[in-house]
Symmetry: C3
Subunit: 255 residues, 3 copies
């Protein structure tokens, strides 16, 4: 589900859960644990995806099988992943190698730097369109990148945007063409950071990101409760079931 | 003073208090009550103005007749209007159909979306120039749209800007030519929002705007006291009296 | 070390400590005291530098001679200078007349307005590169100007940027060519502000900058302790000693 590749002092965590790198409970826990190991063993980390696809987001099909406790457990895990990335003691880059709706984009928000592949890919927090509510701490992370006004419009409308608009608005920091150049850009960015005096680079980084520690501390518990409640509401279940039915029909048409 | 026009599930509240849609105590209360009714009866609201004029702002001429209690009462009403718009349970769009100084622009800050008419119109928080002080919660609302640096420069200098600059800075979200297209854009924006899953659109909207509930809770009382004190200060009264004298002279020149 | 020049109601405080306007304990205290006098005696202040050089930042060579108490005392003084500028009762403009790394740029962050000279000059918070950590309140001040995302990238990488990029990102508000036009722009900006109704201009300014009073109140003490600890760490001393050695070698090469 996750390929671990070391580039000298930089560890790449490559999402590798076919067909669409969907974030199920197992992958979320594995990614969190691998990030924590990278903090101990490496000096920087890169989260990358497959060529043309970073991650399709949460694995709704698998999550639909879970009961209340299962969903609560999953959401706690997902918040732990986000907090691990946001409060990591080493720099973390998102190499967004393709399409990146919802959950995948959310993970990228908490990285230090985002480089995305040019192409016919979309990125965005489209939760509104799939019936889910984005917690305040996640919306704040987007607002840090694109400003409060644009973040509100993006999240409320569930906008999916192309790489050029992602760069213009600040959703991502750089674009490259193709998988190799995207990863290479991420590696170079890390290497330049690691060439700086380490204690002051990390100290300034910690101060720049102190807000995350505060916000996760305040919002974690509330977030879980209201997510579970919202997940099992008739409204959410109806929207998600209808999306899954569409996917199934599409698949059986193809067969 | 206010025309109520229903466009299917969307209610337009059109300011209609000749000659300049000035916000006097009666119009402010009526607009608040109409917003509250719209929340119960409709799915989205649009606040619009006359062709070429959204609102000239507070009705200073009428407010100058009020005593301390009257001004305190008015300012509480005006804050109630802003809070009603900011914390509305349904989306609210400002269709800024023309000139929009001070009070009118302030109402627009708290809407979900602002579309303005192109033309020889100006928008801005020019309170500095008329001797008034903009409370922190209103300045923060502008900073959400244009960033803290630009908001500070705009408010301190009392800048009035044209539609193009309003779009560039984020003060408004879109421009259209003429009254009809401005209103039509507002309606289309609402309709697209109403086509999304309702519970998640509203849930994400509530999270995006949670800051308003917090800020109004904290700043309301202090805002009233300091506004009344400032209103009756010699400095403010002198500036406003001189503006009114200029208006009168202009009028008698025209007669 | 500091030339005081009155332009009618506007006082210019011109850094004049050859060769590079480095901020040593004496200049920091003198600038603070002169700012406080300007608040009592004038209606606006401008902090300017030499042609081609605003300030080289903290005088590391002199600071390296100080013991723990001396460094603690200096850092308290420097924070007092920043708070004096940020919370000044009169508008303060930075006329950034040239090169402006670290300490000089930090002072400019807290001014009301920044005009910089075009040319082969760089500005930025390059503390990461010289082994120092920028306290949260200083990073927040940069984020007010350029947004949280750009501020984080700038501070963590210790980026030095040219005047055009400083204008694009919002680090400065305007560019002029040459010393005379830079100062003249600063004077004109002040004069236009002073032509506005004074009480409302100052009232709106105080509300726009209320955040500074709050943040300095919260962060001052912690900032001093952690700065002193960081200053005397082996890591910081090593980086600074190596920078000083480079400077000395360069100097003896020139001799």
């Amino acid at each position: 589900m996750l390929e671990i590749i070391n580039h000298r002092k930089i560890r790449e965590l490559r999402l590798a859960r076919p067909p669409v790198n969907a974030l199920n409970p197992g992958l979320v826990k594995l990614l969190t644990r691998s990030m924590q190991e990278a903090e101990l063993e490496c000096e920087a980390a890169i989260i990358s995806g497959s060529e043309g696809l970073f991650s399709a987001g949460l694995d709704v099909l698998e999550l639909m099988q879970l009961d209340h406790d299962g969903i609560a457990e999953f959401w706690k895990s997902f918040f732990e992943l986000l907090e691990t990335v946001a409060c990591s003691s080493i720099p973390v880059v998102a190499a967004i190698t393709g399409h990146s709706p919802a959950g995948g984009a959310v993970v990228a928000l908490f990285c230090d730097y985002r480089v995305m592949s040019r192409g016919d890919y979309l990125i965005g927090l489209n939760e509104t369109r799939v019936g889910l509510v984005v917690p305040v701490v996640l919306q704040s992370a987007l607002a840090r990148l694109v400003g409060a006004r644009t973040a509100e419009l993006m999240v409320v409308t569930g906008a999916m945007i192309d790489p050029e608009k992602a760069l213009d608005t600040g959703f991502v920091d750089a674009l490259e063409t193709g998988y190799t150049d995207t990863l290479s850009h991420a590696l170079t960015w890390c290497e330049e950071l690691l060439n700086l005096p380490r204690h002051s680079m990390l100290g300034n980084r910690a101060n720049a990101r102190a807000i995350f520690r505060k916000e996760f501390g305040e919002s974690k518990i509330l977030g879980v409760e209201s997510f579970v409640e919202s997940w099992f509401s008739d409204a959410t279940q109806t929207v998600m079931q209808s999306l899954l039915d569409q996917l199934k029909n599409k698949k059986s048409d193809q067969d």
